[in-house]
């Protein structure tokens, strides 16, 4: 169970059970769907971005596995009040963390609570679950107006 506890850390289990910012954002000005067709994961990401390019509010709704739900929940807390540029950097850092080799030291600088997702590296097939919300967020803030997929 060691690898599993590494993956399913208490923070992840907690956010899976009680996802934060789990609601429709009525005054959202950005929105995108994220889908993993193979898993059946489906979420919608809502964001309100200010005129000067700051993410004032971000929420999500949908169904998914513990990893995708916890990742969405932690992400919404993490990116709130950041500039679009900062969010883009966060996306790249998070992506690097979960796709790096398990044998390498995990680069968790600046990722705060998101460091709990380092365990995903041991389970490559779950990377797409961890990154689904991030892809949807990027699609929403770039306002591509399309469905983000991680597979």
């Amino acid at each position: 169970m060691d690898d599993l506890r590494e993956l399913y850390q208490d923070t992840i289990l907690d956010h899976n059970k009680k996802p934060r910012n789990f609601r429709v954002l009525d005054d959202a000005n950005r929105e995108a769907d994220g889908r993993n067709p193979l898993c059946g994961d489906a979420l919608t990401l809502y964001a309100r971005v200010s005129d000067d390019g700051r993410v004032e509010e971000v929420t999500f709704q949908g169904t998914g596995c513990a990893i995708s739900k916890a990742s969405a929940s932690l992400m919404t807390d993490f990116v709130k009040n950041k500039t679009l540029e900062e969010v883009q950097n966060d996306f790249e850092r998070f992506h690097r963390l979960v796709t790096s080799l398990p044998s390498e030291p995990a680069e968790i600088d600046g990722l705060g609570k998101l460091a709990v997702f380092a365990g995903v590296r041991e389970f490559p097939v779950r990377v797409k679950c961890a990154t689904l919300a991030w892809h949807a967020l990027r699609a929403a803030i770039e306002d591509e107006g399309k469905v983000a997929k991680t597979e």
């Binding site: 169970m1 690898d3 599993l4 993956l7 399913y8 289990l13 899976n16 059970k17 067709p37 193979l38 898993c39 059946g40 994961d41 489906a42 169904t63 998914g64 596995c65 513990a66 990893i67 389970f123 779950r126 679950c129």
Partner: protein, 406 residues
């Protein structure tokens, strides 16, 4: 004679493999079955001592390879009750078999305004080729409903059959639910109305005796890799007059009689449908797999698997919050389920941590998942190399899963 699954397990080298520190518990044979040593050895021996291209050389090696390849055709005809070996077409898998029928028979026989009847429980392989055909020719798909327990609503299916119905295509056994469909009843209903039938037998052939002549179907498709043979060889059975009336599927070498730039005449069935060098070694391996199955006996396999299914179902239902999706009385050894607190993917990952391989997701049957009201399920599929110990390990791991997510 008692069925000795422990002894049979020794025929499958991969079952000795360690997975994340545990002995592998393989419960995903409905996705692809593991291979007995007899199959692995047959492929190795064929490449080591007997390999050459078929239907070409005048030299002995090629003549012998051709003979072995054609012997497997006859062997398979006998195994599935096809009256004539020419009715057995080698393809890559059931998917290719269905696409062959959709392209060749479908484009010839189905036109604008015609109807194709399917069922809600079909695998994407028995949906998408028909959908593509319908789009090309302007035909319509009609879909027979199922009940909440996963049983086909035959009355609804019959109500869909009309003047314009050209084809009824359905699975013998549902890959996602395990439901066994009343194949001969359905083919009889179709025959009365002059409707052609295609049976997707991918989940039936590995688990029960199959007699296509008795079933009365026009086409029957299955994959070799689910019948304990290698991946890369599958079978399309078709009634000879139908196959003879159909245009070729793929053009190329081996399927011709005479080629000139003015025009080409085609080889007779079955060569007409086997363009290019096939996966010869996989066909040889498939022959070894059929030998292996016949030595055990399909009847004995079906009886053993049924007892395992009953046992596993009872045990799984002791887990609080576990719900089985697909509870037909006539069921193959496939158990799809969901847990209250854990998403199927998390179930799959926790089980993987215990060395247990199950399938999670939509099982290539998205319309069926929608009908059953679940985005995905976890699926344990059993076969004759599984034992009660495997079920015990599965149940213990599901208890652990529950504790983790509760």
């Amino acid at each position: 004679m008692k069925f000795d699954a422990e002894q049979i397990r020794k025929d499958f080298p991969i079952l000795e493999t360690r997975m994340r520190g545990h002995t592998l518990t393989y419960l995903d044979s409905a996705a692809s079955a593991q291979k007995p040593r007899a199959v692995i050895d047959a492929i190795s021996d064929f490449y080591s001592s007997h390999y050459a291209n078929i239907h070409r050389g005048v030299y002995q090696l090629s003549a012998e390879a051709t003979l072995r390849y054609e012997e497997v055709r006859s062997q398979i005809a006998k195994f599935i009750g096809a009256p004539d070996p020419r009715e057995v077409i080698f393809v890559r898998n059931a998917t290719e078999a269905i696409n062959l029928v959709a392209r060749s028979w479908g484009e010839k026989e189905i036109g604008r305004g015609d109807e194709i009847v399917l069922t809600t429980m079909e695998h994407h392989a028995n949906i998408v080729p028909w959908q593509m055909l319908a789009e090309r020719v302007g035909a319509t798909l009609r879909v027979a409903a199922i009940f909440d327990d996963g049983v086909l609503d035959v009355d609804h299916l019959v109500s869909l059959l009309g003047r314009r119905t050209r084809l009824l295509a359905f699975s013998a056994v549902s890959n996602a639910l395990g439901t066994i469909n009343p194949v001969s009843e359905l083919t009889a209903i179709a025959r009365e109305r002059g409707i052609t039938t295609l049976v997707d037998g991918a989940q039936a052939v590995p688990h029960q005796p199959v007699d296509v002549a008795a079933l009365g179907c026009d086409f029957y498709a299955f994959s070799g890799h689910k019948v304990f043979g290698p991946s890369g060889a599958g079978v399309l059975y078709g009634r000879l007059p139908l196959l003879e009336s159909m245009p070729p599927f793929l053009g190329g070498g081996d399927m011709i009689e005479n080629v000139s730039f003015k025009g080409t005449s085609y080889a007779p069935v079955p060569q007409k449908f086997e363009a290019g060098t096939p996966d010869i070694a996989s066909v040889i391996g498939l022959g070894a797999a059929i030998d292996y199955l016949e030595a055990i006996g399909m009847d004995r396999i079906a009886t053993y698997e049924h007892s395992l299914l009953v046992h596993a179902t009872e045990r799984l239902l002791t887990i609080p919050g576990l719900r089985i999706i697909g509870t037909a009385k006539e069921k193959a050894a496939v158990i799809s389920f969901v847990l209250d607190d854990a998403h199927p993917h998390d179930v799959g990952t926790v089980l993987d941590g215990e060395g247990i391989a199950i399938r999670t997701g939509h099982h290539c049957a998205q319309p069926l998942m929608n009908r059953m009201g679940v985005p995905a399920t976890a699926r344990a599929s059993l076969t004759f190399y599984n034992t009660r110990d495997d079920i015990d390990r599965l149940v213990a791991a599901l208890h652990k899963t529950r504790e983790l997510f509760h």
